[in-house]
Each structure stands twice: as C-alpha cells, then as structure tokens.
C-alpha cells in the first residue's frame, strides 16, 4: 500500500511538471543554467580543425507553447582554441573583443510544433532563425535545432553557419595557414522546466 502511494505521488509529480511545459509558457535565465557555445573553423591547407569553446551563454529564453524565443549573448573573451597565440590573434586581431566584447543572438525563433505535447523524446532538424550581431555587424542567420528530453529538462542544440566577411571580420591568416570563410557555430542550452 505504501509503495502504491509513493508510486502514485511520483507519477503525479512528473505529470504536473511536464504539463507546465505543455500548457503554459516558461522562461529560463541561461546564465544560471547549463549552456555552451562552440565554433569550428577549418584552416587551409592541411585542414586544421580549430575548435573554439569554453564560452557560456547569458540572456533569457522564453517558451510559449510550441515556440522558443529570446535574446542571448556570448562573452567572446571566454573562447579558448587550445593554443595561446591563436587565442590572442583571434581576440585581438580578428574579433577585436576589446571593441566588440559580445556576440548577441536576438529574435530567436524556433517552432517546436507539438513536441512538448507529444510522447517524443527528441526532435531533430527543426528550422531555426535569429539575428546575430558580431563584430559590430548584425545579420540574420538560419540553421537547425535539435531538442531532446532529459528527465524533466530538455537539451536544446542549434547549429548554424556564418561567413566571416558578412561580419567584416578579416579572414585569419598566419604563417601560411588561412582559415576558411565559413565557420560552423553550435549553441547548446539546457532548458529547465519552470513556471513563469
């Protein structure tokens, strides 16, 4: 009998938490939850894979039934490519982080459809749109997003591509190695299920 009561309580708790997502809106402050941004640039010749990571997100994401929106920012100073001189060149010469310390992703628009009302554990390839302000230049970006339930949270991952020249960033060159103009950006955020 005790087991039955505990089991009932457990299920009721779970249903109540998810229904908050399904029926209502929510907000999450990314500076207080798990989040990450990384980029992948390729150097030529030799196809060096330059992965910059270590930066977290700040800003607020809002969920309204099936739509996720909001504005988030990244502190560019926090990016680390694994090699000190490369970091220095990236931040001082190309991104000019002293003048433009943050990249800002605004007008985020991700339509999840019926994901939260369904039994699906994940959904991939969801169209994603936003405006990216980087190096003092704002441009629309398009990509895809994946969402995956993890307990009572959801992990949101989005990927998009940017062209350095679109943001008036010089193509990085160093000792005969030139970085390709197209850079892949990955943004990841854990969305806790909380009531507004």
């Amino acid at each position: 009998m005790t087991k039955l009561v505990l089991l009932s309580f457990f299920f009721l708790s779970g249903v109540e938490t998810y229904s908050a997502v399904a029926k209502n809106s929510w907000q999450t402050d990314l500076s207080k939850s798990e989040s990450a941004v990384d980029f992948l640039a390729v150097g030529k010749p030799s196809a060096i894979k330059i992965r910059g990571k270590g930066a977290g997100l700040e800003g607020v994401l809002t969920g309204e039934d099936s739509k996720i929106s909001g504005t988030i920012a990244v502190n560019l100073e926090k990016f680390d490519t694994g090699i000190g001189l490369r970091n220095q060149h990236m931040k001082e010469k190309y991104l000019e982080v002293a003048k433009f310390p943050k990249a800002i992703l605004s007008n985020i628009n991700i339509e999840l459809g019926d994901f939260f009302n369904s039994d699906k554990l994940s959904k991939k390839g969801i169209p994603f749109e936003a405006n990216l302000e980087l190096h003092g230049v704002k441009n629309p970006v398009k990509g895809t997003a994946d969402i995956e339930r993890s307990g009572f949270d959801a992990k949101l991952k989005s990927q998009f591509k940017i062209k350095l020249s679109d943001y008036k960033i010089d193509v990085p060159k160093y000792m005969g190695i030139t970085v390709a103009e197209d850079v892949d950006v990955n943004v990841e955020a854990k969305i806790p299920v909380t009531k507004k």
Partner: protein, 362 residues
C-alpha cells in the same frame, strides 16, 4: 654477438624523419600544417615552427623556435632545418648485456618553396662503413596543383600505417622501413578535411645496383572524424628478385581529449620467397597510449607483438614498456623509455631495454 645487437639497435633507432601524429589531439588531422612533406616529418613550415613553441614545447620565448633561433634571416622561399640525435642505450637479456652512447644522426635539410613547386633535400653523416661520408637520405620534388592534391617524386619512405618517428617499433622495423630503407617513389596524395589518400609507386634504388630493393606500390587511405580522430587502412605490394611481399592492415590515431591519445596499428604480412618457394603469413601489432601531463611533457605506455610466421611460434617477439617524452623548449626533444622485450627465437624470458634519446632539431 654484441656487435650484431648493436648494429640492429643502430638500424632500429637510427633516424627519425616523421612528425608527431598525436598532434591530432589539437585538431591537426594532417601533417602538412607543420611539415613540408605530405607524409610528415622533416622540414618544418613557418607555421610548424610556431606551433613547436606554442603547442609542442613547455616553454619558449618569441623567435626561439626559428631556424638557428632567428640569428639567420632567410627569404620566404627558403626553408632550412636539420636533426641531431644521440642515444644512451642499456640492454640486458639472456644473450647480451651492454650500455653504450651512440651518436645517431647529424643531417641538415633545406627546401626551396613556392606556391606550386617545392624541392627538398637532406645531407648528413653517412652510417659507418658507407662508401661516401655524406649521404642524402631524403630528397624530392613536389608539385601542388591545389591545397589538397600533391604529386611528389624522389627518395623518401612510402606512406604506410602510422608515420611515427620510432623505427624500432614492429610496424616499422619488421615491415622493412628501417633507417636507410627509403626508396625512390612517385607519390600522389589527397589531403582533405575528412579524407586522406596516398598512392605511391615504388621503384627501389635505381641509383645503386648493389641494393636489391623491392618495386611495387602502396595505398594509404584514412578518414578523420570528430576533430581529433583518424582511422585508415594501408596496403603495400613489393617484389624483388628473391621475394614478393604483401602487407595490409588498419591503423588509428585517436585523440580522446586534448591530453590523452592512442596510436594503434595492426598489419598482416604475406611473404613468399621464390627459391625455395616458401610462403609465410604473420602479423605485427603496435599500440601506444600517451598522456600529456602538462604542455610538452608526456608519459606513455606501449605494447608490441609480432610474429613473422603463424606456423612457427619461435618467430614471435613481444614487448611492453613505459616512457616519458619531453619537449622542454623549441628545438629539443628528450625521450626515455624502459621496455621488457623477448624474442622466442632467443629465449622465452623477458629482457630489458632502456634508452635515453636526445634530439635537437635546428
């Protein structure tokens, strides 16, 4: 007997021409970011010199990584380098006990480099008993029509498996790629973001009729994934007037993290002598698990097994060991290892091999 062992060791450890594929853990999936040669090793590019200070060595001041520490300023189209190597060796097994200091290599290397065409040559001290006091182990002309494609002709090792510096390992020594075994080749290579391909025609040593070397070809294809992983397959066919040889097998360079990496290679060997007509099937396996404790200081464990003839248990050798590898400053490499080794043809008991290698690259 001692002199035979010493000769073997000199052959095995004599010359190091390859680079450091474990740099894949920093996203370097190909050799040509740091080396002029598509297969790695030898002459460094300006970027490679910079990385030798920034990512390979523990410490280094500005310009310390340059040729002769920047004392000589060369035009952009000339690259220069070289290698000095010496070894302090200790070996103790049922057949021999010895300790010896061995000066191994003193080579200079120069390259004339343009966007499309490159010429590279080494010159250095010849091994003992050579007819000429100075030899060129490696020299080639290379044409690069694009960033990815290159065509190379000259004397160098064909690409097969892991292109590691250590010639003592079974995937080098036992397969025929010891010191002085470079052949004249024609190589086409494609080094892309994901796929690498080397196809090499091997023409032996037409410059020296006394050297009976194999003619044939090799193919090495690999794929990179997840920034720090690479795996591939190699195939080699070689023939001379006494034997025909096929070698084939997989290899992998796995950068689990920016600090932890595994190098592994397994090859099957198929050798047939013509008179008498005898076939031998065997294998070699090499593995090295390394960890960079702090920048420029690595510890590793290694394991090697080889059996040249599956039908003959006495043809088996194996070894395992550990070591450290340090790059305290640009130009300097220190390698110390201790291994337990045995050859069933000599004794089933393990013996000890330890050596300290000092390498100074110009």
């Amino acid at each position: 007997m001692k002199s035979i062992y010493l000769s073997l060791i000199l052959l095995c450890l004599g010359q190091s021409v390859f680079g450091f594929p474990e740099m894949i853990r920093h996203g370097y999936v190909n050799c040509v970011a740091c080396h002029v040669s598509p297969s790695g090793g030898g002459l460094l590019t300006p970027y490679g010199r910079s990385i030798s200070r920034e990512a390979l060595s523990s410490y280094g001041k500005e310009n310390e990584e340059k040729f002769l520490y920047g004392a000589v300023s060369l035009p952009e189209w000339i690259l220069a380098g070289g290698d000095l190597r010496a070894l302090q060796l200790f070996r103790n097994n049922s057949a021999v006990e010895e300790a010896k200091f061995i000066p191994m290599q003193a080579d200079v290397e120069a390259g004339l480099v343009s966007n499309k065409i490159t010429a590279v040559a080494t010159a250095g001290r010849a091994p003992q008993n050579s007819a000429n006091p100075v030899i060129s182990r490696r020299h080639y002309m290379m044409y690069k029509p694009t960033d990815e494609w290159s065509l190379r002709a000259g004397r160098f090792f064909p690409v097969f498996g892991l292109m590691l510096p250590d010639h003592a390992i079974v995937t080098k020594r036992n397969l025929g790629w010891d010191q002085g075994q470079e052949s004249y080749n024609l190589e086409a290579s494609y080094l892309g973001e994901v796929y690498n391909l080397y196809v090499t025609g091997i023409f032996g040593r037409p410059d020296d009729a006394n050297l009976i070397r194999e003619h044939g070809f090799s193919v090495n294809a690999s794929v990179s994934f997840l920034d720090r992983f690479k795996t591939g397959l190699s195939f080699y066919f070689g023939e001379n007037n006494s034997q025909r040889k096929y070698l084939y097998g997989p290899f992998a360079i796995l950068g689990f993290t920016s600090k932890l990496y595994l190098l592994t290679e397994t090859d099957l060997t198929d050798k047939r002598t013509f008179t008498p007509e005898v076939g031998q099937h065997g294998f070699v396996n090499f593995q090295k698990l390394g960890c960079e404790l702090f920048q420029g200081f690595h510890i590793f464990i290694s394991d090697e097994v080889a059996q040249s003839d599956f039908g003959n248990a006495m043809s088996r050798t194996d070894s395992y060991g550990l070591g450290i590898q340090a790059f305290p400053r640009p130009h300097i490499e220190i390698l110390a290892t201790w291994q337990k080794q045995r050859s069933f043809a000599i004794s089933p008991q393990y013996g000890d091999l330890a050596y300290l290698l000092l390498h100074y690259y110009l």
